[in-house]
Symmetry: C2
Subunit: 412 residues, 2 copies
């Protein structure tokens, strides 16, 4: 009986053509966030179960967490999000670290859920966090970074909308409407405002607050609070203009403490929240350290890739391998210096040293998807000039090693 | 009660200064293996438990595997090694893929074991695999790649030794000595030849084979088999010279089918196997596909870093952030164009837009470890020239934006 070849449900195998897309996306993410002074960190995939139980929200902990006991009897979880981890790390060095502290990471995250469009069990998520800035310029910077990322991929402001809200204000209004169960539950329900039908929302709102009509009236207003107004002004100054205030916006996690934001894909094909974040000033304090004002966001690779595909923003990505060097005759030893020279100068060379016929070697090079073939025999080695064949166009040039190197030099 | 701030036992937090080292190592690994025509792949962290049960070896499966049941009742494992995964992926597309197929990955791997020098529960491991070459030139290429990696980090052949063996030959000799329990167990014991004392080894050898003296005699020979002799010739042609044949070398995994190799750190401080690999022709076949000749190796980040540190091969790595831009006065809006210009041209700029005093801002910039501070006020913006202070040397220059960009351009 043979083993199955599919990947685990809700997770992906990345063959080189898939991995190239991810590498392209991650390189651009790194480039943009580093340009804003953020530095990369990382942490273990496994964390103590308790750090999620504390603040992440019930649905995530009870239903979506991959948790188990390790062989030493510790209750651990595969991280479903990075925010508790980065808070733990900042708490561990609360005094030594310099603020404002700008950190980012692209962790691998897991959630047990029914796989669907844009949501898988395994994904990667850019996490960008700014520690130590209490004022709105912190929130503005984080939103500016998110906006700059999309623009760096070639997105125009028409392709997405940035929605902001003050969770503080929302909490006040929810409390004023008379909470029936808990504030947290009421707020998580309010977050469904845009997803449910009007009627269904109004009906169910009555189950979580005493005065649903009053709260509903507030949620349908299209105004700005003092805070979101000021945030918009800061964002406009830094060139971020497609911002809208949405009173019902809450975000799922319990730990958000004030401004929250979400970036919506405006294309009819997706038309949904792509990613978001907000202020979570209290989380570092959970680890026994003095709290630190914090604002951040997370952006998943699956939704980002969907966005780029929908808006045709993914370029054609060339293979890592520049050429297949086809050895002709007994030149294995003689060719090594030439190959090393190419490789050390940045040309990526796969060698075909097999004793297949030349025709068969070329056929295999074509099948491999490599664009060029380079022929190396006795004659070429003694002359120092090599035939380079473009396998797509069939065109052939005779080049020196130096000319080959120049042709394939990657410009940054 | 507050949550603990330590990372999970046997795993590491990577603060930016730690992550930089890993990024440096991984970038060089990618550069070298891609220069040999290898392309990156990736796969899910979780795999079905069964793919390890099949061939990885008992110790790993019974004692070291992080395995559990998911919420749907599937028995899964966090991958402890990448070889079964890449074999699964090749099997899934056995017919479509072009051979020779060159693949690499740097997966995150987990093993439950007592953390010790050079061995942690979580590590990353470069995996390089070559599919479709039956002959020794495949084994030679893989060893050449491993050797080129160490040289690319600046290692000299005196710092390490490459040990090779034919597991085929070893198996024949073990069988000829009369196996008492199983061939696998006997071979795993033989692998301890260099770790145990002579007396202990000879004594215990009698527990696994009928004729221990005969086998012991063979193991102490310092000769070459036909195969290792030919492999050495190929390696010498490609400039790999520090190679030694070791008859007792076996490698832990059950799936190796012929040539195995290990790279030893020769420094007295480490003096042990750093990493290795070999031929495992049978693994793809376990997934119901036609078997394919395969040779590969894995190189862990922990041992690699130890090697680089011991031999003083780690360079000083600058922080990702080039400078802190200190805003003076009310220039938040006015400074945005200048900042965007720097960032889009590859300068990594953290902004201090706080209303702290100038002295305090400078102090924080110094504490953050960023090398330079750039002062931006009304005067600077209208003149188009900015003071750039080297915070290490205290030296200050007045530069245009273009001059700043030139100064910080990263050359590849």
């Amino acid at each position: 009986m043979s083993l199955p070849t599919q990947p685990y449900k809700g997770a992906r195998d990345f063959y080189p053509e898939d991995k190239r897309i991810q590498k392209y996306m991650f390189a651009k993410l790194r480039q943009v966030v580093e340009s804003f002074g953020y530095q990369e960190y990382d942490a273990p995939l496994l964390e103590p179960f308790d750090i999620y139980a504390a603040k992440s929200g019930d649905e995530l902990v009870n239903e979506q967490l991959y948790s188990f006991e390790d062989k030493g009897g510790r209750k651990v979880a595969i991280r479903p999000e990075m925010t508790p981890t980065v808070s733990r790390m900042v708490a561990a060095r609360r005094q030594e670290l310099a603020y404002p502290l700008r950190l980012y990471s692209i962790p691998n995250l897991w959630r047990y859920e029914r796989p669907q469009h844009g949501r898988l069990r395994e994904h990667w998520q850019l996490n960008v966090d700014l520690f130590g800035i209490e004022g709105l310029e912190g929130d503005a910077e984080i939103i500016q970074v998110a906006d700059s990322i999309l623009k760096a991929f070639g997105a125009t402001p028409q392709m997405y909308e940035i929605r902001i809200n003050s969770r503080n204000l929302l909490e006040k209004r929810v409390k004023a409407a008379g909470v029936k169960t808990s504030v947290g539950e009421a707020i998580r329900f309010v977050d469904k405002f845009e997803k449910l039908s009007k009627d269904e929302f109004r009906f169910k709102l009555g189950e979580v607050v005493e005065k649903p009509d009053e709260l509903y009236g507030f949620l349908t207003e299209d105004g700005d609070s003092e805070e979101t107004k000021n945030l918009k002004i800061l964002l406009e100054k830094s060139g971020v203009t497609n911002v809208r205030s949405v009173y019902s916006l809450a975000r799922g996690f319990d730990y958000y403490s004030d401004i929250v934001f979400e970036v919506f894909d405006t294309s009819p094909a997706n038309n949904r929240s792509m990613f978001g974040g907000g202020r979570y000033d209290g989380l570092v304090g959970l680890f026994g350290a003095e709290p630190v004002p914090t604002v951040g966001f997370g952006m998943g690779d699956v939704t980002l890739q969907n966005f780029l595909v929908t808006h045709r923003l993914l370029p054609d990505l060339p293979a890592e391998t520049d050429l297949v060097a086809i050895l002709i005759g007994d030149v294995y030893a003689g060719a090594q210096a030439a190959l090393a020279n190419l490789r050390e100068n940045g040309v990526n060379v796969a060698v075909d040293a097999s004793d297949r016929k030349l025709d068969s070697k070329i056929k295999h090079a074509v099948k491999s998807g490599t664009r060029y073939a380079l022929f190396i025999g006795e004659t070429e080695l003694s002359a120092g000039r090599f035939k380079l064949r473009d396998l797509t166009k069939g065109q052939e040039d005779e080049l020196s090693a130096k000319e080959i190197i120049n042709k394939f030099t990657k410009h940054p």
